[in-house]
């Protein structure tokens, strides 16, 4: 499997991207009127996936939701690896990637200076902040587990863990500095997470274009990101549980149950914003917007529109109220997968389709992806490959956090039954 992923990365990402760089963006399907194709669909999609890590790790940590403990790392890895794919997709979209440094505010002899009023510049800063922040937030809680691995390994692995554990011993001071930093990160990264996808939505919403110019695009995008992220977490947890030893001890059915409830709540919130966005545009009566909605509902891409409604709203509502379904890992993973299909279609409709159906009907020409399909497969393969490599090198379960959780959990007798209780640790 590892070899297959490596081959896919080598052919679909490295070779295809190299070919596109040597031949130019002409080998891609982007052209008038849709200059933004799948590359930006992938960017929005992967940034969405990355939101799950922060949501599960930071927000649930702030609210002291105990069920988060076993799968925070899997979700945090998803954030970092997802953001790498999002960043790579932006570079693919740039075409001439070697000029990417023009985006950075570097004083140079040509007096080329980025325009900070542009949403694309906000994107650069927000994504950079989020990539660095989430990578540091992944690394900090990893240090104690790396120290534990250092104590138990030999050979090159011992050297690897020794270097990354930085000399951590677990003294009171080290724990204090670490937990203080993790608390600061948990609080600070939440607004960063919200800002990133809000700013991504502004890339679209700031333009006076049918379908894009919407004041609810920010929260709508954030909810969509959480929706796809939660679904992706369900898939990853199912795969981890099915393929790795002793994972069923750490990732239990009650964790899937809690995740399923979260997915249902996020689906409801997503439906609320989806309808908000739709009804205002439908009611407005603007000719170009009417054309766009008509195209979405009855045009050649209508199947995407209806699948997005079914997978993102109807399917979770029909299934996730049921505890048995929520507690069946493979079912939850399939629902998560279908939610992600629906979310991908949503982004596809927003980017190339809404660019196509514009105010100049003579330019309407449906976007047909070409080399982008290989590059998309490449990003998915890279994400999977990174995950597989990580699963061999670092503990995917945050061991010390689980141990800490076991310390604070007790059973308390109430009447004729025992109920689990959690004591305040701090």
């Amino acid at each position: 499997m590892l070899a297959l992923m490596a081959i896919l990365v080598a052919t679909c990402l490295v070779y295809a991207w190299g070919y596109m760089i040597s031949e130019g963006l002409g080998v891609a399907g982007v052209m008038r009127p849709s200059y933004w194709g799948i590359f930006l669909v992938n960017t929005v999609f992967w940034i969405g996936i990355s939101h799950a890590g922060t949501f599960i790790s930071a927000i649930l940590r702030v609210f002291k939701a105990e069920f988060r403990r076993p799968f925070t790392r899997a979700a945090e890895l998803m954030t970092t690896f997802g953001l790498i794919q999002a960043g790579a997709s932006i570079f693919m979209h740039l075409g001439r990637v070697w000029l990417a440094y023009w985006l950075f505010p570097l004083p140079n002899e040509r007096l080329l200076w980025p325009n900070f009023h542009s949403p694309l510049m906000w994107d650069l800063l927000a994504i950079t902040t989020y990539v660095l922040g989430s990578t540091m937030y992944l690394f900090l809680p990893l240090i104690p587990d790396l120290a534990m691995a250092r104590d138990r390994s030999t050979g090159w692995r011992k050297t690897f863990y020794k270097v990354l554990a930085l000399g951590f011993r677990g003294t009171e001071g080290e724990w204090r500095h670490l937990t203080t930093a993790m608390n600061i990160f948990a609080f600070a990264i939440i607004p960063v997470m919200f800002s990133v996808h809000t700013i991504v939505s502004w890339d679209f919403a700031m333009a006076m274009r049918p379908g894009w110019s919407s004041s609810v695009f920010g929260p709508y995008f954030v909810l969509g990101a959480l929706h796809s992220g939660m679904g992706a977490v369900a898939i990853v947890l199912f795969i981890m549980r099915a393929t790795m030893k002793h994972m069923d001890y750490f990732i239990r059915k009650e964790h899937f149950d809690a995740l399923g409830k979260l997915m249902l709540i996020v689906s409801m919130a997503y439906a609320y914003f989806f309808f908000n966005d739709y009804i205002v545009q439908w009611y407005g009566g603007d000719k170009a917007t009417d054309d766009l909605l008509h195209w979405l509902e009855e045009g050649p891409m209508a199947w995407m529109f209806y699948q997005l409604i079914f997978f993102n709203i109807i399917l979770p509502w029909l299934t996730l109220w049921n505890k048995k379904i929520r507690q069946t890992p493979w079912l939850l993973a399939i629902i998560g997968l279908l939610i992600n299909v629906g979310m991908y279609w949503e982004r596809y409709l927003i980017v190339p389709v809404m660019l196509t159906i514009n105010r100049m009907p003579f330019t309407w020409k449906l976007y047909v992806p070409a080399i982008e399909i290989y590059l998309t497969i490449g990003t998915f393969a890279t994400f999977t490959l990174f995950y597989m490599i990580a699963s061999r090198l670092i503990p995917l379960i945050p061991v010390w956090e689980v141990q800490e959780g076991q310390m604070v959990h007790t059973l308390r007798k109430v009447g004729k039954t025992s109920v689990p209780t959690v004591s305040e640790f701090e």
């Binding site: 000399g167 677990g170 204090r176 670490l178």
Partner: protein
């Protein structure tokens, strides 16, 4: 009289907390005690003073620096590298808020991360006093005492449920 550092390993928090209390009774001050554990044990549980940390101050300092850097990027540099766009302000406030926010958060997060390194003296690859059993959930208590009192302390901590007591030696982790 020379001092020595002893290392006592305990199975759980309760005997470790009792042992620390006993060490206090026997005249060992908190400055001469250190605890190592595989999970963060709250200082109150062990009856220890609140450990000092500069991480939050460094985070705040970073946030302030980021705030001013964001202001400089958005309201300073456009005058250094002027890009006039018809009908638009050189330094509009609403987009500036976004830049200032992102830079504030970025610098706050970076300085928090660096704060952990500075406060914990990471990376540190020199030999250190350590016992690997802490990663199995055990708790190690280090304390300094007079070499002549070593037997007295060993007997006392054995009675408190210590699994092992030995002189602490720096080792390569």
């Amino acid at each position: 009289m020379s001092d020595t550092t002893l290392l006592a390993v305990f199975e759980d928090i309760d005997p470790a907390a009792d042992a620390i209390e006993k060490l206090h009774e026997m005249g060992v001050t908190d400055e001469n005690i250190n605890v190592i554990s595989g999970v963060p044990v709250a200082h109150k549980m062990l009856g220890r003073p609140h450990p000092w940390t500069n991480v939050s101050r460094l985070a705040m300092g970073g946030a302030v620096a980021g705030f001013f850097f964001g202001l400089f990027l958005n309201f300073g540099t456009p005058y250094l590298y002027n890009v006039p766009v018809g009908g638009q302000y050189i330094t509009p406030v609403p987009p500036g808020l976004i830049i200032v926010f992102e830079m504030t958060m970025l610098f706050a997060l970076l300085s928090t991360f660096l704060g952990v390194f500075l406060d914990s003296f990471f990376p540190n690859y020199r030999p250190l006093e350590y016992v690997a059993e802490v990663s199995d959930g055990k708790i190690a208590v280090f304390f300094r005492c007079a070499e002549a009192d070593q037997k007295k302390f060993t007997d006392a901590l054995n009675k408190m449920g210590a699994e092992s007591i030995k002189p602490a030696e720096a080792q390569q982790l």
